[in-house]
């Protein structure tokens, strides 16, 4: 162990990286220009959104952030091809708690009518993240995750043809039928690679300041029924 350690450190000193470009000057120039380029971009996006209209057909751009869906807590990004991720990633559930305890820690919580098998609380998101789980962590039947806030803590990557269907639940919601990649972000908004995994059918909706996400092998109608029962 220690020998390989030393050898790698030694190797590290002999590894050649490309020369560092003069980033300081380039960054300085961009800071000065900040206001002049942001506005045209915003206008271009607005035009794009208007052109797309209600059809929700997204142009085959390499990446298009669908934040115009109005879901604050989630970013849905189209990518050409899903990156390879584990089918079962780190669910990042946090610690098991009782429903009462979860409510005490996150008073905004919306509990579904059907009692879950387990409830978890995680501090990965400011204000807490609560997960209701049906089944067992090793064999999840349904997973409902809730958190509150203005920032987006979930990133979803979908393929170009995957449908994003707006549905009538809460203030606004979408249904994703196809497999997609799901990952959480940390408090600074950075993508947490260790939470990336493949997700199946998912309903995401917003109620007030709470973002809810229900995943499992269920039909859209079943998902909507559970979603509408959450109170």
């Amino acid at each position: 162990m220690s020998e390989l350690d030393g050898v790698l450190r030694e190797l590290g000193r002999q590894v050649e990286f490309p020369p560092t470009p003069d980033l300081a000057s380039a960054v300085r120039r961009r800071l000065g220009k900040r206001r002049s380029w942001r506005r045209p971009v915003a206008i271009a996006l607005a035009v794009l959104v208007a052109a797309i209209g209600a059809a929700l057909a997204v142009p085959p751009a390499r990446t298009a952030i669908l934040d115009w869906l109005g879901l604050r807590g989630v970013d849905i990004v189209r990518v050409e091809k899903l990156p390879p991720v584990p089918a079962i990633g780190d669910l990042d559930l946090g610690e098991p708690v009782t429903l009462a305890e979860a409510r005490r820690r996150s008073p905004w919580l919306l509990a579904p009518a059907e009692a879950p098998d387990r409830v978890y609380f995680s501090t990965a998101i400011p204000g807490g993240k609560v997960s209701f789980l049906w089944g067992t962590p090793a064999s999840v039947r349904l997973l409902l995750t809730e958190f509150r806030g203005q920032e987006s803590y979930i990133e979803k990557l979908i393929e170009p043809e995957a449908k994003v269907e707006p549905v009538d639940v809460g203030d606004r919601g979408v249904w994703l039928e196809e497999p997609h990649v799901l990952a959480f972000r940390d408090r600074d908004g950075n993508f947490r690679e260790d939470t990336a995994r493949l997700a199946g059918k998912t309903l995401i909706w917003q109620r007030g300041s709470v973002t809810l996400r229900l995943e499992g092998d269920l039909s859209k109608e079943e998902a909507l029924r559970i979603a509408r029962s959450a109170d």
Binding site: V7, R9, V27, V79, P83, R192
Partner: protein
């Protein structure tokens, strides 16, 4: 007596927070080397690393309001830069092998050889580097961060968006794999 000394990093950050762009330029200059190399390790090409590092620095400037006073600047910055690098790699949808090349033969820099220098000569060095290059991305990244960029476990965790526990377990798994292919 008034002694003029260069401003500390914390002072530069505070000035940059108030909109002092030249203070921020100094911060960029101080960290651009490690930021660029981290981005290179993750993105796999010099061009993408340059773009990612530049974008990361600009985003970090705009996010300075969220930076907690007194906490270390470097891991915070590396996290943002590496995230940019990862996004570029991801959206490009490719997994190019990162070609790390050993520098020119011998210790041409004229510096005295380090104590471990004797451990690693010519051919062996090539073989070990090959073994590192053959690792899966997630293992190569931790080895690169920890040994080639000499980042701490905390900085590695920040840069790769992992928990410290994950960094530790991935490092030991990677070392295990290296040991298997390099004996």
């Amino acid at each position: 007596m008034v002694v003029s000394r260069p401003p500390t990093e914390e002072e530069l950050v505070e000035r940059a927070k108030r909109g002092d762009e030249s203070a921020y330029e100094e911060l960029v200059r101080a960290h651009q080397g490690i930021a660029f190399r981290t981005a290179y390790l993750v993105a796999g090409s010099a061009a993408e690393a340059e773009e990612a590092a530049q974008e990361g620095f600009v985003k970090a400037y705009r996010a300075l309001g969220r930076f907690r006073r007194g906490s270390p600047f470097r891991p915070w910055l590396l996290q943002i830069v590496a995230n940019e690098a990862r996004n570029r790699r991801r959206s490009a949808g490719r997994r190019a092998a990162l070609a790390l090349r050993a520098a020119a033969e011998g210790s041409s820099g004229g510096a005295a050889p380090s104590p471990e220098g004797a451990l690693l000569a010519g051919e062996e060095r090539e073989r070990l580097l090959e073994a590192v290059n053959a690792l899966r991305d997630e293992e190569r990244f931790v080895i690169g961060c920890r040994y080639f960029l000499e980042l701490s476990e905390e900085e590695t965790a920040a840069a790769l968006g992992l928990r410290i526990g994950t960094v530790k377990s991935r490092t030991s798994r990677a070392l295990e794999h290296l040991r298997e292919s390099y004996v």
